[in-house]
Symmetry: C2
Subunit: 204 residues, 2 copies
């Protein structure tokens, strides 16, 4: 594979974001994570925090979100009758497609695997881990207490799963959506990076 | 990881069985696939074909199978009131645990990932592929016509999925059930073998 585009989807606390960063450093190509949020915020005019939250997570019940995308009830619509969440998705969609067109890169989250599904030069990766490893990362790096962690992890992943389902009609975390899924709890962060590098060598 | 135990679950037509065989050859360790069916047939006294079919696939509707395991209605019970399907599962369960205890090996299918879930020296792998690659393999190696292939592939995987759900209460093909999931359509058979070898090097 000449051009290297890697998308990384990940469970909260699995270290997927960090794996994306390390991978991009090893490959000497850009990693779009916070940078992508900046670009969407700039393009849309929304605040970064709002983009970070709405661009990947479907908070509240799925039914509520579906209902809100069909009506003006909750006042989160832009001037053209599209929900703000949808507007962010459309802008992300365009920016991710442009980035992939431009050159090799790593893109973390944001349904990039689905958005780039028609390209043949993309390796789609999913990072997950056992609950104990995720709690350990969340407590160490995100300042969350051990008591809070299990419920928070579940909530974050539920919101990502709902968001993914809503925009892709696919089940988040199903192995068949990705070329490579890795348990960072078993393989370690550097182990995951090395296995992804190996897969990039092998890809047809 | 000193001892190498690798379980391989796979979609029908993904080449998972062949990947298991090649991997075991590279590692110089036994691969239990047909050999495992022989062992279960010998231990249970059932015919090989019956073990091959019932030991991994839940044919008919899931509800029918659940119902049949609760009653004597369909005359598929052994003398001790356990359904023949359950009896095969229990024997497989014991044989797989004994094999893992004995030494390094590759075990293909048969819920081995779940059966060995309490061991820490196991790498669980899931092999899948895009529909076109699976049809190609099914037509080339299993003597199936291109017209028959899509429905047959779906039926075989549905039966495996139902069987897995029934005995493990987990969803077959969810990335989080495995340490490593690979798309053999993208990575190729030899590519998958090499990525698994890399993961075995990295595992903690």
């Amino acid at each position: 594979m000449q051009k290297k585009i890697v998308t990384i989807s990940r469970q909260y606390g699995s270290g997927g974001r960090y794996i994306g960063k390390k991978l991009s450093e090893k490959l000497g190509i850009p990693c779009y994570d916070e940078k992508l949020i900046d670009m969407v915020a700039k393009e849309s005019g929304f605040a970064q925090d709002f983009v970070a939250e709405k661009g990947e997570r479907m908070t509240g019940s799925l039914l509520f979100n579906i209902a809100s995308s069909l009506s003006y009830a909750n006042n989160v619509f832009s001037g053209n009758g599209v929900s703000l969440q949808d507007e962010i998705y459309f802008i992300q969609n365009k920016i991710i497609k442009d980035l992939a067109e431009k050159g090799s890169c790593v893109i973390v989250g944001r349904c990039a695997d689905y958005i780039l599904r028609e390209r043949e030069d993309v390796l789609n990766v999913f990072i997950h881990a056992d609950m104990a490893s995720k709690i350990n990362r969340a407590v160490t790096y995100f300042g969350i207490t051990e008591d809070q962690a299990p419920a928070l992890l579940k909530k974050k992943d539920k919101a990502r799963s709902n968001h993914y389902k809503y925009y892709t009609d696919q089940d988040w975390g199903m192995a068949s959506n990705y070329d490579l899924s890795l348990n960072s709890g078993a393989l370690g962060i550097d182990g995951c990076v090395d296995v992804i590098l190996k897969a990039l060598e092998e890809i047809k």
